[in-house]
Amino acid sequence: MANATAINAGMPVTRRRMTMKKFVRRKSTIAFVMALPLILLIALLVVYPALFSMYLATLNKSMEHFVGFGNFEFLFKRDTFWMVVKQSCIFAISAVFFKALIGFFVAHFVHAIPAKGQRKWRGMLLVPWVIPPAMSTLGWFWLFDPTYSAFNWIFVRIGIDPVNWLGDPMWARFSVILVNIWYGAPFFLIMYLAALKSVPEQLFEAASIDGANWWQKIWYITLPMMRNIISITVLFSLIVTFANFDIVRILTNGGPVDQTHVFATWAFNLGIQSSDIPLGASVSLFMLPILAIAAIFILRGVNQRGNEA
């Protein structure tokens, strides 16, 4: 009887031990523990600064009083702010569109190269993405240099008028977008190339038998098969391009007359150089809700298509 009582009393402990053992052995637990250092690192380097910048955005200029959304109210009344919003949208949307387009077509060309010679091309085409942008943009700056532009040197020799690349607002915008496309297109290329390789060849063969042309194959096979990767790359690139700093900073510093400023460069100008950190933080946070909503919709679409598959 006494033994039985002891056994009964001990059972929950054993079961608890078993449950604990099971919990520890569960794949998700192991995965979590293994990812924990990275999670902590992200919390320290991403989450904390993000929360801190949200806090800063709620302070007044001297950072002594809480003003709630006062900084945003102030920004919404400034013409320069709306100009920066417009420019950031033009910059990010056009750059991402052309990066995706160029990446898509170049990925097709590279995909068509026989496997033996493909590696060389892949390596060469990735070079712009591999060079730190601060360095490569300096190279571009010398090509666009206001006085000694290499492009203009060639233009003059072939009888074309020199272009004021960085001094004329329209050309300055073109230049910063061009450099961003040059830098970012290889990312799309490599992602699309990987996606293309996973499209079953039989689908193309069947389409050929049915008499589909090149365009129809792209429209009815390639694009639907790559929809998820296109969505994710576009989303990722949109976020990164909206946050771009170095290209604009090095090429134009936001000029002429603020007409190439994007959120990051204007936030730096306000927050660090003009000593108004809360206003700078508010500018840099303005896109956060818009991009977050876009991310939710895009990722939900990707998820749904994943479930359908």
């Binding site: 400034r78 320069t80 206001p146 006085t147 001094g167 100008n269 003009s274 000593s275």
Partner: protein, 451 residues
């Protein structure tokens, strides 16, 4: 007679504590680093070797004062020095002494230990501080930074002797000769912004235009600020009232419209290196810059360097304003060794130290004291000998900064957001009317009033 003083519990504790302190405290030994540690963040100088001299001066002081000193040189490339200041101010930790560019000392005033004692002693020995140094370094009647020698600069004209004489008939060496020469005061009186424009037109016609940046970086903002001040064109007055809608501002913008016509068309895209390159290449006949452009020309294009001469800015109706950019050395309130920091700052503010620093920079650095304008470096540097003799501000020059005399919090934004050059760009390159450019300026300034 019994003692009236009772040996109370409190008195017992105090006596015991004092006795313990005497007994337990280690005997005072004046060791190698008896006066503690000091970490310093100086601006990383452009001129090769200038940092070495500063290090040497600091180490000599540290050895004498028994301080363990650690020096970091922080570059201004990519605004790293400003980022460091902001980060240390946020973290309330970092260097004991930090070097602050023009605006950053006053912005951090509440975090900086007053250095009235150091500055007042330095002024007594070296002469008064120019008004711009006081404007930026003194807050609520207290010095919050010591006028730094390294980095402090002026951006007056650096012209080509040959080209200005050839095209504009302007003898700049006669007007502002080197050491020992007799200046032509009549020519100096005629050296106005109108004469400057006339010379710019002639040089443009001759094929070697003036290279005056009109972008959004400091070289552009500095000379434009001096032009505005010379005409008394204040965007915001000293009391903080917006005064951009004035005849003086209109006059400057009209002047700028005439001047821009004879400048290279790409000046709106120039950064701080563009004007240097323009002079060194031999294309430009005049730029507004410290003698660093000449120093590089000496290395890269000696023929150009031999024809360069730095001289004071033209004058306007309100005077001869020189575009200056003073730097400051400050010590954080939370520094653990403020006495040592102040001792070092006092040492660096001595005439002998300053003279060595000026020599090491080839005359680039301008001391923040009016009595220190007679160093032989400026007289002897060349070729041509005496090329930077007129670089330090003397006689009728008023050193100023763009945005002044507006309250520093507003002027800082006028400066860093390049409001003046943008107004010029709008009514010239942008094709807008002067009234529209002024209206735009007024709207920007309203935004700067934020507290």
């Amino acid at each position: 007679m019994s003692s009236s003083k009772k040996f109370s519990r409190r008195r017992f504790l105090a006596t015991t504590a004092a006795a313990s302190a005497v007994t337990l405290a280690p005997p005072y030994i004046r060791g190698a680093h008896a006066a503690g540690k000091l970490s310093v963040g100086f601006w990383d100088h452009w001129v090769p070797g200038a940092n070495d001299t500063l290090t040497k001066i600091c180490n000599e002081w540290a050895a004498k004062e028994k301080v363990d000193i650690k020096i970091d040189y922080i570059t201004s490339q990519g605004n790293k020095n400003i980022l460091t200041i902001v980060a240390e101010a946020q973290a309330k930790s970092g260097h004991d002494i930090l070097q602050f560019p023009a605006w950053d000392a006053s912005f951090n005033a509440k975090n900086l230990a007053p250095v009235d004692d150091v500055m007042n002693a330095a002024i007594k020995n070296n002469g008064s501080a120019p008004s711009v140094v006081e404007y930026l370094g003194k807050v609520d009647g207290h010095w919050i930074g010591v006028a730094a020698t390294t980095g402090s600069q002026l951006k007056g004209p650096c012209g080509r002797i040959d080209l200005l004489k050839k095209y504009a008939g302007l003898d700049i060496v006669k007007m502002y000769p080197g050491a020992g020469g007799k200046p032509d005061t009549a020519l100096q009186d005629q050296w106005t912004w109108e004469a400057f424009l006339a010379a710019a037109e002639k040089c443009h016609k001759g094929g070697n235009p003036f290279g005056l940046a009109l972008g959004q970086t400091s070289d552009s903002v500095d000379w434009v600020g001096a032009l505005f001040n010379a005409y008394g064109a204040q965007l915001v007055d000293a009391k903080g009232n917006i005064t951009v809608k004035s005849d003086a501002v209109k006059q400057v913008l009209e002047y700028a419209q005439r001047l821009v016509k004879v400048l290279p068309p790409d000046v709106f895209a120039w950064d701080d290196a563009s004007n240097n390159k323009y002079l060194i290449s031999g294309q430009g006949s005049l730029i507004m810059n410290p003698p660093s452009a000449w120093a590089v020309a000496k290395r890269d294009n000696l023929k150009v360097a031999e024809q360069c001469w730095t001289f004071p800015s033209p004058k306007g109706v309100k005077g001869r304003y020189a575009p200056g950019q003073p730097y400051f050395w400050g010590t954080w309130k939370w520094s653990k060794n403020i006495p040592a920091a102040k001792s070092l700052l006092a040492h660096l503010s001595e005439r002998a130290s300053i003279e060595r620093l000026v020599a090491a920079s080839g005359g680039y650095d301008i001391p923040g004291f009016s009595g220190l304008r007679d160093f032989k470096t400026w007289a002897e540097e060349g070729p041509p000998k005496g090329t930077v003799y007129n670089y330090p501000p003397r006689a009728d020059q008023i050193v100023s900064i763009a945005g002044a005399p507006a309250p520093v919090g507003i002027a800082n934004q006028i400066y860093n957001q390049a409001t003046m050059t943008k107004m010029i760009a709008k009514c010239t390159q942008g094709g807008e009317s002067i009234d529209k450019a002024i209206g735009w300026g007024a709207s920007e300034l309203e935004g700067f009033m934020r507290v």
